[in-house]
C-alpha cells in the first residue's frame, strides 16, 4: 500500500517561507489511481488495512460512476490504475470498468485474493484490456495461510496464478509480512518461483484499519526483521535479473518515517467504494466528512483544489522537527494517517520517525514485541463474517 505503485514522484514545491502570500502553484497531475471497487472480501486477513468499519455494498459506486471516474482520471493525467478492494472480482461489472480504463489509455492491474478468478472470468478481463495481476499470498504453508487469511484460499490462489501465467499476463505476488510469516521468507520466495511470479512484494505490515486491532499479534521484534532482511539479500543475489523482490520496510521497527504516497496529494489518489476520494488509502478516518466525493465534485477539482488534498500538500503544514529537517524532501514528514492514528493530530511528525517527539509511543511497542508468533495459534482477531 504505502510504496504505492513504485511511482516515485519528483516533489519539490517552492520554499514556503520565501513566498508567504502567493497562492500555491497548481500541483503536478497524479500518475496513479487506486480504485477500491468494494470492501467486500471472501478473506478476513488479520493484517487488513481497510477500515474497521467497512463501506457497505449498497452505497458502492455503480459501474457507470466508476467508468466516469476513470475517464476523468485519464483527463487529469492518471496513467495507471490498480483495481482493488476488498475483492474486486465481487463486482460483476469489472470487465466494463477495465475496458473503460483501457480505452482511456490507463494501464490496469487487478489486485486480488485470487478467489473467484476462474478461467472464463480472466479471459473476459484480458479481452477488456487487463494488463497485469497482483495476487495476495499469506504463507507458503496452506494451514498457516488459512490462519492469517481467516479463510481457506490457497487452492484458489494457486489456480489463479496458473491462469494468469497461461493468459500471458505479468504476475506479481504481494505478501504482507508480520510475526507469523517473517521467518518463512524462503518458502514464500520459492512459492513465487514455483508459481511463475515476475515480482514479489514483501510488504511489512503497515498498521491501519483492522491491522491496528491486531498490532500486538503482528508486530515483529527487530531480530526477526533482521533475519528476514538477510534472507531477502540472499535471494536478491540469487534471483538478480530473474525476479524482482520488493521490500516495504517496517517503519515502526526501523524507526524511520516512510515517504508515504510520495507525499500527500503528490503522486496518486484513492477512490473508496462509496466514491470518496482520498490522498492515501488510510485517510478515511483522518478526513471523516471532509473527504470529497466523486458524486459531488469533479476529480480535477478534488485533486487541485479540495481542502482535503491541499491540506498537507507540500511543506507549508510542517512543524518542527520536520520543518527544518533535511529529510523532509525524502520522507515528506512521513504518514499523516499514522500521525493522526497515534497522536490524534495529523500535522505532527510521523511517530515512526526517531526524530519525532512522539517516537516513544512507537519505541515502547517495538520494545514490547516478541519474536515469531506461535505457529498454530498466532492470536489474531478476525472480522465478522466475510462476503
Amino acid at each position: 500500500m504505502s510504496e504505492a505503485f513504485g511511482v516515485h514522484g519528483a516533489q519539490g514545491g517552492p520554499d514556503a517561507a520565501a513566498r508567504p502570500t502567493s497562492p500555491p502553484p497548481p500541483p503536478e497531475p497524479p500518475w496513479a489511481l487506486l480504485a477500491e471497487l468494494t470492501h467486500g472480501c471472501p478473506l478476513r486477513c488479520a493484517y487488513c488495512s481497510n477500515p474497521v468499519k467497512l463501506i457497505g455494498r449498497s452505497v458502492e459506486l455503480t459501474g457507470d460512476e466508476w467508468c466516469e471516474v476513470l475517464r476523468q482520471a485519464a483527463e487529469l493525467g492518471v496513467v495507471q490504475t490498480h483495481l482493488s478492494g476488498g475483492e474486486p472480482l465481487l463486482r460483476r461489472d469489472l470487465p466494463r470498468i477495465v475496458a473503460t480504463a483501457d480505452e482511456a489509455g490507463i494501464h490496469t492491474q487487478l489486485v486480488t485474493s485470487g478467489v473467484g478468478l476462474h478461467e472464463a472470468r480472466l479471459a473476459e478481463l484480458v479481452d477488456a484490456g487487463l494488463r497485469s495481476v497482483q495476487l495476495s499470498v499469506q504463507h507458503a504453508d496452506p494451514a498457516r495461510a488459512d490462519l492469517i487469511a481467516g479463510a481457506r484460499a490457497t487452492g484458489a490462489k494457486e489456480r489463479a496464478a496458473r491462469l494468469v501465467r497461461e493468459a500471458g499476463l505479468p504476475l506479481g505476488l504481494n505478501a504482507v509480512l508480520h510475526r507469523a510469516n517473517l521467518d518463512a521468507l524462503d518458502a514464500l520466495v520459492e512459492l513465487g518461483l514455483a508459481w511463475g511470479a515476475d515480482r514479489i512484494e514483501l510488504a511489512n505490515t503497515q498498521f491501519y484499519g483492522w491491522a491496528m486491532e491486531n498490532r500486538a499479534a503482528l508486530l515483529p521484534d527487530p531480530d526477526q526483521v533482521a533475519r528476514a532482511r538477510l534472507t531477502l539479500e540472499r535471494w536478491r543475489v540469487r534471483l538478480a535479473g530473474r525476479m524482482e523482490l520488493v521490500w516495504v520496510a517496517p517503519d515502526y521497527v526501523d524507526a524511520t518515517a516512510k515517504p508515504c504516497m510520495g507525499g500527500w496529494g503528490a503522486v496518486s489518489l484513492t477512490v473508496a467504494p462509496d466514491g470518496s476520494v482520498l490522498p492515501c488509502p488510510a485517510a478515511a478516518e483522518l478526513l471523516g466528512d471532509d473527504a470529497p466525493n466523486v458524486r459531488d465534485h469533479r476529480l480535477d477539482w478534488i485533486w487541485r483544489e479540495s481542502p482535503a488534498f491541499t491540506r498537507y500538500r507540500g511543506e507549508d503544514w510542517m512543524r518542527e522537527p520536520c520543518r527544518s529537517c533535511e529529510l523532509r524532501a525524502v520522507d515528506f514528514g512521513g504518514c499523516r494517517c499514522q500521525a493522526y492514528a497515534l497522536t490524534g493530530d495529523a500535522a505532527r511528525t510521523d511517530p515512526a520517525c526517531h526524530r519525532s517527539p512522539d517516537h516513544d509511543l512507537v519505541r515502547a511497542l517495538v520494545d514490547a514485541a516478541r519474536g515469531p508468533a506461535p505457529e498454530d495459534h498466532p492470536g489474531f482477531a478476525y472480522r465478522e463474517g466475510g462476503t
Binding site: F5, P170, D198
Partner: protein, 103 residues
C-alpha cells in the same frame, strides 16, 4: 517514476557490443504510450512509470520486433544525420534490455 534519456550512461558493462541482428521488442509487461497531459512518451509497467526523455521515445517506437538493431540505427541516422546515433542507440537499447523493458 523514473526518467530515462539516451544520454544516460550509467551502464558499467565493459562489453559495448549489442547483437546487431537482435530485433528488440517491448517486454510482455511493458506498455508504450504517449501521455498527452504531460506531453511525454512513457513506458507503463505494472508498478512503475518510466518517462522517456529526449529521443528515447522515438527510439523505443522503432522496437517493433521486426527491425533489427542495425535497421533501427540506420533509420535514426537517416532522421538525425548529425547525431551520434551509432554510439548511443545500441548502448541505450542494451540498457533497456538490462532493465527488463525490452526483449
Amino acid at each position: 517514476m523514473r526518467d530515462i534519456a539516451t544520454s544516460d550512461r550509467r551502464d558499467t558493462a565493459t562489453d559495448d557490443r549489442v547483437d546487431l541482428d537482435w530485433r528488440p521488442a517491448l517486454a510482455r509487461s511493458v506498455m508504450f504510450r504517449h501521455d498527452r497531459v504531460r506531453g511525454a512518451d512513457l513506458l507503463l509497467l505494472p508498478e512503475r512509470v518510466v518517462v522517456l526523455r529526449g529521443a528515447a521515445g522515438s527510439i523505443v517506437k522503432l522496437c517493433d520486433g521486426e527491425r533489427d538493431v542495425a535497421a533501427i540505427v540506420a533509420e535514426l541516422a537517416r532522421r538525425h544525420p548529425d547525431a551520434p546515433v551509432d554510439a548511443e542507440v545500441p548502448a541505450f537499447l542494451r540498457q533497456l534490455r538490462a532493465e527488463g523493458w525490452l526483449r
